[in-house]
């Protein structure tokens, strides 16, 4: 092969790369392969926690993301909701971020998970009796601080419309009945695309069992909190979310047919069963397989570029 060919190969037009990326990621969506994975300790702890908490205690979900980081956070929230709804755990959700649409986005996700459950003939979660939305708190730090001090003051005066059409104070509803402080919640989960997780850790980690789900950019910063046990577990980025879905399907240390154990998490002593929500492998599974294709393309492109560069140099020298 001659120098011109290698020259072309090391200066491929960017548009060619873009088209290849679009085509490959589109094809990748249809593969939906279940990729075997070594589950992160943090996700294993998170899943075990979610499967072990008392279903009679409500869970509090803080969801601080908008459409622009939908790719990771929507998979996170969907996965969390599937676990909560399958385990029949009541929950309360709100957004503590200056990004105004966050609450609406979360409400939409709950709606479409409910539609999905309806289609599978499962019980639909009713607002007021099974879950409550509190709305938006624009100042994350202040909201967490006042929740730490007195939850009744922090959420005071918020009302919710029950399925029968009546308005009720949120603390009178079946969801929050008997809740007087953060300690009465079984778990708190922060789903976020920004540093709001830092405020939650600073203000609330000693009041309630705190966990988180965050984008790949935020997640590395959560590792120190997890190591210090300030976070009881977390799912970081798409990988963390795929870990969750994989465990929802296979459990932890759980022997399936033929005694095969898919997830062998060293830290978790004992067995955690799979979830069986009817749709355990969902968005993250689809995206994660696709991510491999995209990453392979990136690495392939870098390798080709380098090989071509060396080959061209060699060919040039040969020609001289």
């Amino acid at each position: 092969m001659n120098a011109a060919f290698w020259d072309k190969l090391q200066k491929v037009d960017r548009r060619v790369l873009y088209v290849v990326l679009v085509v490959l990621t589109s094809i990748g969506l249809f593969l939906k392969a279940e990729i075997p994975v070594a589950v992160d300790d943090s996700s294993a702890d998170f899943y075990a926690k979610l499967m072990k908490i008392d279903p009679n205690k409500p869970v509090v979900v803080q969801t601080d993301w908008t459409i622009s980081t939908r790719g990771e956070n929507m998979a996170h929230l969907e996965c969390l909701l599937r676990i909560l709804m399958t385990r029949k755990i009541k929950f309360v959700y709100y957004s503590a971020t200056s990004d105004a649409p966050a609450f609406q986005v979360a409400t939409d996700v709950i709606r479409h998970i409910n539609e999905e459950r309806k289609a599978m003939n499962l019980k639909v979660y009713e607002r007021g009796t099974d879950y409550i939305g509190l709305g938006l708190f624009p100042n994350a730090e202040g909201a967490n601080e006042s929740m730490r001090n007195d939850i009744k003051k922090a959420w005071g005066g918020r009302r919710v419309r029950m399925p029968d059409g009546n308005e009720t104070d949120i603390f009178q509803t079946p969801v929050l009945k008997g809740v007087n402080s953060m300690g009465d919640f079984g778990l708190m989960v922060v789903v976020t695309a920004s540093d709001t997780i830092d405020f939650a850790v600073q203000r609330l980690n000693d009041k309630v069992e705190l966990t988180g789900m965050a984008t790949g950019v935020i997640a590395p910063g959560m590792l120190p909190y997890y190591q210090a046990r300030q976070l009881k577990g977390f799912a970081g980025g798409l990988k963390g979310c795929y870990d969750m879905e994989y465990m929802m399907k296979h459990g932890i240390n759980h022997p399936e047919e033929g005694g095969k154990i898919y997830v062998n998490a060293g830290k978790i002593v004992g067995e955690v069963p799979p979830l069986g929500s009817g749709k355990d492998l969902a968005r993250a599974t689809q995206y994660y397989a696709d991510l491999h294709i995209a990453l392979s393309l990136l690495i392939f492109a870098v390798v080709v570029g380098n090989v071509a560069m060396f080959a061209q140099k060699k060919a040039k020298k040969g020609a001289e």
Partner: protein, 252 residues
Amino acid sequence: MDQYLFIKLSVGVFFTIGLYSVLYKENKFYRFCEHIFLGLAAGYSLVAIWTSILYDQWWLKMTGVPAEGTSKMVPGYFMYAVLLPIGLCGYMVMSKKHNWMSKIPIGVILGLWSGQQVKNWWTQYGAQIYGSMQPVIPTTWSSLSRPALYTFNEAGAKVPLSPDAAAVIRSNIYATQALSNFIFVVTLVTALSYFLFNFELKGKFLRSFNTVGRWLLMVGFGALFGSTVMARFALVIDRMSFIWNEWLKLGR
């Protein structure tokens, strides 16, 4: 309702493709989407500036909130009214004669920022300075590298160590860890030397110190680059899914 949702999705797909078209080249379709985007964004800013900043943080604090239901009365602080004339000074930038007055609100913003920097410097960096003082002398030579926290039983399966034995391992510094710590400190100091501006580094040794500092910075940057890739690719995959799965309802 379903019709509305389909229209809404289609609008989203239309603009997504429009903005993507710039990847090929700048064109009329992109220009169309870009200008709508800029218009909507400016419109949204004008709405959000009042509804989510000024109304809550300025107006309500100035006028107060009367008691209602279980929520208590919040007094109004009239001094917030001072901020409006200060803010208006900024608009003097349009005047040819009095444009200097625009520096008043700017001065207030910058003054507050400057004070905060000095006040917060130690809280931000003190812990990092302490965290860099890593011990480099091993506390034990019983093993060069840190032993695993498990052993093997007769059957060859992994068994965790007793908590006491594990605690001993955790409390020790092993030779390989000490070496890593030493690399850490050297990396920090060489990289820091790269940012000395007023000292001319003379001699081969000092100059090579500087060069190595720059290489080590590049290692750090490469790692940063690599770790954001997953998050970014997830977003483009999601866009594709938005088009194929949600809009065309294929591939679900």
